[in-house]
């Protein structure tokens, strides 16, 4: 993992408050698992039907019947429960998950998210992403600020098929932490060593930046 990703994840972990229920999406968000303090009173939800998962203890034999929604072996912590898929999604649709972290192909300044389909190229199915995106109160997108060709992923308007409309609360990339507000995309934190002009150049979305209040991460 790159140091950019490590910094991003360390920053993202600060979004989680003690006592919360947290869902971690496939990919980068899953790694957040390792950035939450082990003694923190937090239950991690995985939509395949577990609340209270934790990483398998180092060196321990995995339990073949215990995986997260990404297919990784997991353990459970005190206070955990397991349940069927209908109950798991009832929990999601009833907004009983406090915060969810997801990756993105594209995210825009209106809080729209596209992370499940690239027509003609990639369409394995939407899985649980739509209901998580539509129903969890606080959705934090974790993604690289630009794709591998350097193109911005933080857009004025998503072009790919949407996962859900107006669903994103906050976006955390290697370059910035941005809050979706009615006024637009407000930059909360900017990466150490990055200047505002470079951030704007790397971004398609219009950014609201108050340099006097800008944090670093």
């Amino acid at each position: 993992m790159s140091s950019d990703q490590e910094r991003l994840l360390a920053r993202a972990a600060r979004e989680v408050l003690p006592g919360q229920i947290v869902n971690l999406g496939i990919g980068l968000p899953t790694r957040l698992f390792h950035y939450l303090p082990p003694d923190m009173d937090v239950l991690v939800h995985s939509e395949n039907g577990v609340l209270g998962s934790q990483p398998v203890a180092h060196g321990a034999e995995p339990d073949l019947e215990m995986i997260d929604s990404g297919g990784a072996y997991i353990g459970t912590r005190p206070g955990a429960s397991v349940f069927d898929s209908a109950l798991s999604f009832a929990m999601i649709r009833r907004s009983r998950i406090d915060i969810t972290f997801m990756g993105a192909f594209e995210v825009d300044q209106h809080g729209n998210l596209a992370n499940w389909k690239i027509p003609g190229k990639f369409s394995p199915g939407i899985g649980g992403a739509m209901e998580l995106a539509q129903k969890v109160d606080k959705l934090v997108v974790l993604c690289s600020h630009n794709d591998k060709h350097g193109n911005p992923k933080i857009l004025k308007q998503c072009r790919l098929p949407l996962t859900a409309l107006h669903c994103v609360s906050r976006i955390i990339t290697d370059k910035a932490v941005m809050q979706v507000t009615k006024a637009g995309l407000e930059v909360v934190d900017i990466a150490e060593g990055l200047d505002v002009a470079s951030l704007r150049a790397a971004t398609d979305a219009e950014l609201i930046i108050d340099e006097t209040r800008l944090g670093r991460f």
Partner: protein
């Protein structure tokens, strides 16, 4: 949502969250699963103009029967009130508005709210008096009735065992409507005979995961109605 580590609540504090005019789901089928201690505290605190959703009306002198006698419930959404003459009289005299549903539809309407949907389409009751007033639509060449989900501001549920995070385990026929109501109400107050530290309940044995529970109140089985009340046999 209430933080996981802040759910263990005194009964007075938990019930004081309920305002006049609230809609309240109450677990239980007959006595088993009825949260008697929470209901007695609600009686003591005096909230009024309540809408109560419960399978039945208990019996005149216990559970929601006491609230009905005290005139604190304006409206009851239920399935069968045959064991409570007081409730039947209050209904017949117009003091209590009663909305009746077939029992399985009532359960399903509550569960449907708990699953976050608007309603479901059923063939139950088509062509009978129960169907009156229901909107019907055609799908795949057959007629179906739309049954809207039923939600509530609060649910009061009874579990045998809980942990401090709010994971619940029910016992015997005390399960009934409790897990459905825990899903369907905005704020859920659970009473339990025992409240243990997280980690005591095997994950597979939890009936209602703690995500649905806001407040846990420990009640003493020896002083609860459960411990001393005989049912109709």
């Amino acid at each position: 949502m209430t933080r996981l580590n802040q759910k263990h609540t005194a009964i007075e504090t938990a019930i004081a969250l309920i305002p006049d005019g609230a809609s309240i789901m109450v677990g239980g089928f007959g006595s088993p699963g009825t949260p008697f201690a929470l209901l007695d505290e609600l009686l003591a605190q005096g909230q009024k103009h309540l809408t109560v959703i419960k399978n039945d009306a208990n019996e005149p002198d216990i559970g929601i029967g006491r609230l009905i006698r005290a005139g604190r419930i304006d409206r009851l959404i239920t399935s069968h009130i045959g064991l409570n003459r007081t409730a039947i009289e209050a209904m017949n005299q117009g003091h209590l508005a009663v909305e009746m549903h077939p029992q399985g539809l009532l359960a399903e309407k509550i569960r449907c709210a708990g699953a976050g949907h608007y309603g479901f389409l059923t063939d139950i009751g088509l062509g009978t008096e129960i169907a009156q007033g229901r909107r019907e639509i055609e799908c795949d060449g057959r007629t179906w009735a739309i049954e809207p989900a039923i939600r509530a501001d609060f649910a009061l549920v009874h579990a045998d065992l809980a942990d401090a995070y709010g994971n619940l385990v029910y016992r015997g026929t005390a399960i009934n409507f409790n897990p459905l109501m825990a899903m369907a109400a905005d704020k859920v107050i659970a009473q339990a005979f025992r409240v243990e530290a997280p980690g005591t309940l095997p994950p597979e044995t939890v009936h209602t995961p703690c995500a649905f529970i806001n407040h846990i109140v420990q009640v003493d089985s020896a002083t609860s109605e459960q411990g001393r009340r005989a049912h109709v046999v």
